[in-house]
Assembly symmetry: C2
Amino acid sequence: MAKQPKNAISPRRDEDYAQWYQEVVKAADMAENSPVRGCMNIKPWGYALWENIVDVLDRRFKATGVKNAYFPVFIPLRFLEKEAEHVEGFAKECAVVTHHRLEKGENGGLVPAGPLTEPYVVRPTSETIIGEAFSRWVGSYRDLPVLVNQWANVVRWEMRTRIFLRTSEFLWQEGHTAHASEAEARERTLQMLDLYEEVAREHLAMPVLKGEKSELERFPGAVNTYCIEAMMQDRKALQAGTSHFLGRNFAKASDIRFQTEKGVEQFAWTTSWGVSTRLVGGLIMTHADDDGMAMPPRVAPAHVVIMPIAKDPEKRAAVMEYAESLRAELCAQTYHGRNVVVEMDDRNVGGRAWDWIKKGIPLRVEVGPRDMEDNAVFAGRRDTPGHKKESIPRGRFVADIAATLDSIQDAMYQNALSFLREHTRDLDDKDAFYAFFTPNNADKPEIHGGFARSGWCGSSACEEKIKEDLAVTIRLIPFDQPKDPGPCVACGRPAGKRVVFAKAY
Amino acid sequence: MAKQPKNAISPRRDEDYAQWYQEVVKAADMAENSPVRGCMNIKPWGYALWENIVDVLDRRFKATGVKNAYFPVFIPLRFLEKEAEHVEGFAKECAVVTHHRLEKGENGGLVPAGPLTEPYVVRPTSETIIGEAFSRWVGSYRDLPVLVNQWANVVRWEMRTRIFLRTSEFLWQEGHTAHASEAEARERTLQMLDLYEEVAREHLAMPVLKGEKSELERFPGAVNTYCIEAMMQDRKALQAGTSHFLGRNFAKASDIRFQTEKGVEQFAWTTSWGVSTRLVGGLIMTHADDDGMAMPPRVAPAHVVIMPIAKDPEKRAAVMEYAESLRAELCAQTYHGRNVVVEMDDRNVGGRAWDWIKKGIPLRVEVGPRDMEDNAVFAGRRDTPGHKKESIPRGRFVADIAATLDSIQDAMYQNALSFLREHTRDLDDKDAFYAFFTPNNADKPEIHGGFARSGWCGSSACEEKIKEDLAVTIRLIPFDQPKDPGPCVACGRPAGKRVVFAKAY
């Protein structure tokens, strides 16, 4: 048996998937758990990735007419109470502000003082407080549609947290729109879902499925919840974005009314949609490997690292000059509308290259006296097995940089797509379905199953039975439905829909 | 006596300055007071201005090596307590999270439940929580400097709030750096102060004074606090940005230690620096007039509005086509690194032009059948008295757009600079000083005084006496000091420094 090559990340994915994830986050220096319960410190390398995701999304939102705005972080209790399902869904896990001062207590420490007459909730989502604003902004059909988005922090007091994937505080965008007609609101809901899918595919190299949530998985207060779902490398699903058609539920709760062109007063139709820093966790679990993170070039914090090598001190100045001029040439190139971002690592330490492999930079370049002589660079792609490098003429490397980055981007997407396809099954037989979601001896307990496309009769009872038996949920109901969805995988009755089941984060 | 021309904003500045400010914010549709005590809803037109300020600052920060990161919104009480002056300064007005759940109470309403063992404070500033991270990030001189910045919301429970200028929640950036030497930390502190001054001058068209705060006005826990101060149109000062040299106070409180090259363990030297959405209030009070807001072109949410005029329905299509092609040509031009931003207002309502004057867009363009015939545009600058418009050949208008915008930007800066100079006095005589800061019959009570450059002996007693008598404070101690600073304006003793006194927001 061949000796298992040593990897940069220990444990490997197949040894302990959950621990591997934590180690990748740490090795890439993207974030860390904070001393504040369930919250994280997002470190510069992780935050720069998020900034690039924000930038891509923000441009696309604006291109559809959405404008950014900002609303308070605090929500008065009476606002949250306005929508019955909504409060039920969010009151169980929220941070409550009850005082507005601290005073010296009896034992000298600080204690809360200045009790508030009405406590505030730190926003878990902003439908209610934005709805209050819309109720004042909207009076006539001429004021519609209102299309706003907010980049903000939100807090949900989660019991079990995992860095990026489920944290008590996270960063997100929440779009909120109000419309004069149901059709227009429904169109906007699906438009934003499509936008999320495109950004996931084109920029994050993350293939996702699109569809609707079942009633049990719906956003509290929504009429329809749509989502994109990605497959992680443990074959679990990650809900990577949601778009909600809220009907007139929140308009009625917040009193968002308008006069139609004919002078009739009506409630508006609203939508909301969001993605969060969870996407960063999704990117890690899609692209990272046993050597650490791999950044899709289009959102990578940096594209290339240059590592000058000059053991001979006499040659150091010349090598540095060669490296600096290479940097300047690369930075003058553009890749998808932004200048190529180059890191220069001239630290004189061992393991430099491994540091950058773990951080997932798309391209590593070493330049030494020999490369100078050849007017070449010694370059390696993050997606090359064994991290092999090759000598490339310097001019060609610079001229091809955008094409090389796109080639890495494509390879990453194709790799993830193959994985998704490999672990997606059409399963009509109940036993096969149960076997698919039950670890067997050949599996690591954490890595098994995948996405099962199966029939579902539409009853919540069947959905809950499967959840109880297997911890498997309906991730989504695809838009394209076969003529014959087959039998319900739980009860065997004719299925109303063919849906996607999976274990999920 | 000439009839006073009617203005778009009522009351005028000289009638009721405070109310004028509120009306400008409202007329420009930039923000509104929210139902959450002391908080605001920042509306799209106001938020877009903030986004442009953020963009300018963010690029400049990054150019100095600063990287963005993100830290939790909650600060454990024990962290806040670490630095004695700091907790004293911030514990009096903060939002305290004491529970993590809501439950149905006796009367059916929701009540806080799930009390926390240790309450959290919603961050009023993040020195303590970022310091905790630095204590883990820094071990050796090789880890220094650490240069991070955070864009975030912060909460200070203010008693008297005023939209943008002083709100319970506001948006800001807070830079935090740690260094191996005092000299390097001091240099960074002043570098960021200079950066703020440049951005205010070059992008916000806002002249500011630079200097140091007196001990009484220092940031709680800082060794030195530096600031930029701008003059508002009621001649009061607005602190528009601060940069703090924190010495080793927070490093000791948070245990940020490192090994020097020689292996000696030392505490690091830290800095922090920030500007906030308060800058938006400062821009309004610097540039707005009795007709509403005036946006400096370099940070304006949009540069040009095109208003097609076609009373004759038969000519409407042709005029719209002319307007659309003009828009396309303008959008293809660049102004200071971004494409010219154009609004098309084809609403068929009266008062369109006034709406845009109130919003402060730098250029308004009307195009009608006559302009089409002449291949011209009928254009008006926001800074032209009486909002007069003139016919300009279309090609020249497009080709000159960047130069025209720069001319508006320059005029706005010069206008603000003249105002600052006009209301800055050198005052050595105590009576003259007291008279300067006391409204007389010729003044409106709210609009009087200005900046007084006067001697100060250095004692907090004199500083407090003037504050008590006149509500005037030392805004800053300028870096350039005259050889003879003159007598202390309060006690008459020889002054140690010549300082700037003013009433302030």
